[in-house]
Amino acid sequence: MNTYSKHEVLLSAENIQLQYGEKVVLRDVNFRIQDIRRHGINQGQVVSLIGRSGIGKTQLFRILSGLLRPGAGEVRIDEDQHVVKPGEVGIVPQNYILFNHRTIYQNLKIGLDSAQLNLSEAETKSTIAEYAATFELSEHLKKYPAQLSGGQRQRASIIQQVLTGNKFILLDEPFSGLDVLMIDRVMELLLKISTLSEHNTLIIVSHDIENAAAISDMVWVLGAEEGKPGATIVKEYDLCQMGLAWKPEIRSDMRFVELLTDIRKHL
């Protein structure tokens, strides 16, 4: 029984517009992410923003992270709903950018240092070691990013953002370029991160409907409306309400298969 309740708004987008010259990229993008609570678990939020390639997902990704100012509208975060500032939302780009001149340990340390927790050297080491162990990176701490596989780099990149203390983490195409087994491990990792803290919120921007929806509690479809320029949220699926959230065997559920078909119709 997936008993849950929704509470305060943690992230909201209000009337986001983005235009380059005459070309409208995004139009009237509105959505809200609410804190989900479940008994006995730190239930974070995992939401997916699905859309076809080139629809404007990456632009919306940059707007949500505060790296790009929209032409109109605001993105607000946290309980006080202040306008997002760069650095308040972590990002994991598709190509898993890390500092190539730093070892994985040093990369993670930069993330932890930015949290300004004033940890001692020993505490810093143990915190990083703990996260590295949890996410199977212990043996790679002394390596440089170029020595890691795509999946390992992605894990390091995600953990770096988690260590900054950011509750909101945006992931651009997290399943892209990974094999089937690796995708399963990434999904496990994301679910693990989402349950580390009550307010942890992961926003997955992807065109991979099945994998994104399988771990989400909310799916938004970014698409174009006939006769109107630019992309907007054309459909919202509340997977908690539909009884399709937090189910490990969701892929074999016929309702999930129907959901995927319905999402495809709206792309």
Binding site: L67, G87, I91, I97, F99, N100, S114, Y144, A146, Q147
Partner: protein, 261 residues
Amino acid sequence: MQTLKHIFEPLRLLNKRTLTLLIVIEVLLALVAWQLSGGGLIPTPAKVLAALGDIVQRPDFPDNLFASLTLTIKGMGISILIALVISYLSIVPFFQPLAKFVIKCRYLTLTGLIFLFTLLTQNGHQLKLSLLIFGIVPFFVTSLLSVIDNIHAQEFELCTTLRMNSWKALWEVVIVGRLDQVFEVMRQNFAIAWLMITSVEGLSMSEGGLGVMLIKANKYVQLDVVFGTLVIIFILGILFDYLLGTVRHWLFPYTKLTVRR
């Protein structure tokens, strides 16, 4: 037969032994061709080798070599410091016009500026050093700015998400993050320094130097000595190239990881 096919195949990676063998064979072939086609005005490799032996045994050779090396290293050291300051400052909008102007100075000829530099400097050594620095800095700045321009915007965005201010981002991404490439820029531009050293040494010959040796030998049409001196300059260049490359890989081990071998 297979190896023979491989050496003419695009993108084929040869093992170290085969590559060394290939270099040795090609060098030998070039020397044989040179020996067979020489004999007239151009000295043969045998004559150049004899002249080389003679040059290194001259009592003034160590002084000339030392003069050229110290001038080059001093010139390179000061030039790279000036070029780094200009390049790093170019990130700050106020200094961008200065950096752009320095880049364009590549097109200025040193010959036209000798008189000005003679007025500005106090002795021959300073004149040579100033001209060398003035000649090298624009090339260094051009290469360094190209390195900075090629930094992916996402690296700076990563700094933003890690809450670094713009000075910290400059330090992490541009200064520390590209320090290995400073060595590569030095290595690539060292050839330009060598090219200039022989020219500027002729401006004040009292200190001697390999450039002075070249000028004197040219004056008396001692072509075997000219070629012998060129061989020394060539070997020194290769040596510095190797040294800077090795130091770069030693100081920045991650540079070896993305190289196609």
